[in-house]
Amino acid sequence: MTAPPVLSVTGLTKSFGANLVLDGISLAVQEGETVCLLGPSGSGKSTLLRCINWLERPDSGAVFIAGERMGVRGGGNAPMSDAELSRLRMRIGFVFQHFALWPHLSVLQNVMAAPVHVQRIPRPQAQAQAEALLERVGLAARKNAYPAQLSGGQKQRVGIARALAMKPRLLLFDEPTSALDPELVGEVLAVMRDLAGAGMTMVVVTHEMGFARDAADRVVFMDHGRVVETGPPDVFFERPQTDRARQFLMRYAGRAAVPASLAGTAGAGGLA
């Protein structure tokens, strides 16, 4: 009860037109926790992540990063300036579904860009750190390649290294493997498992049930813009408490059962 949670979300709502996407989400993530956000497509998971770092402005509710209010100045309602937003965003690493690497920069430059230009870290130091991170995600040999020359799995590992280069308090993953060919999913999940094991604080939107089951400390199940159920993965997957969670899991179980030959590889999340 001493330190505030790394991430705290209270009563967050967001609509796009008449479509209510987030309907009063509250969530707290403690230091070192890995939380997987599960739920059907359109349940608001990605929007929630984008609201956390203010890429989308929520309509109401609040986001706190290590106790500091995101997007809003002081206690009032004045919006933060870009520079103030930038300072808070530096504490949050973001891994995008479609990688979103900067195409005009090499792999190494992608990882160094924010530390050098935003955090103003001296270039030699940023480069040493970037090289170490690329080593960690197994891409040291490709540091001079450009994103267009990489496979999807490699791009996403660069995306993770880029997010880590900010030394963030919190890492957000927006369906990091759903744009990948099945055989490339494993290499990305392996890196994420490593991070979870090393005590990184992570919020992961994913459809990889295998990953959620064995890497998450906690699962949050969302549907129609609400948190329907939350709990440790063994409880959620073995004894879901709500009908909606049961239905959701049954659909996944059914899908995994059909291609039995694949069940041990891509479906379960690879490198078990």
Binding site: N53, L55, A114
Partner: protein
Amino acid sequence: MNGVAVVWEQRSLLFDGLLNTLWITASAMVVAAVLGVVLFALTLTRLTLLRRSLWLVIDLLRCVPFMLFCYLIYYGLPSFGIVVNNLTAGIVALSVYHGAYLAELLRGIHESLPRDAEDAGRAFGFHGARLVMRIVLPPVLLAAVPMLGNQAVQVIKDSAFLVIIAVEELTYAADEIQATYYVPFASFVAAVLLYWLLCLTVEGGVRIVLNAAEARR
């Protein structure tokens, strides 16, 4: 036959015209490129009034026939006390006109590129001028290279209109030769071939840049 010989005799006149066309268009391209990029960057601002008025001006410029615009600069500006010689007026007209086109072209490319990379820029703390210069602009410019080549060709062709304000460029030279020696076909074909040569040079340049930039696109 005779016409070709006449044009050959007067080749130094044509050559001077070509040189003038070359440096007029080259300087207009440089100014237009800078102007186009600055206009485009300014239109990314969140200041709605500035953005809207810039687009109004750009849209207006795109809809003015270039010849009319030339007249306006050369004969119109003196009514406001701004007197410029024909050469300066020509370069200014070409630069402003094509700068507006370029801004519009860059906007189109920007809208066609995925928004992701820009979102990533914001998510990693880039904002303001640094976001535009480091994250937004480079991919737009790289994607624009083939169209920038097209635009350069347009500048070369529009430079022929400067004949109407008596700028002594290539078309002016060809016209002088045909008027003096009555060899319209030979002299104009010679000019056409020289314009073609300029365009080929631009296309070659585009190809070199494209090859160099391939991995980054």
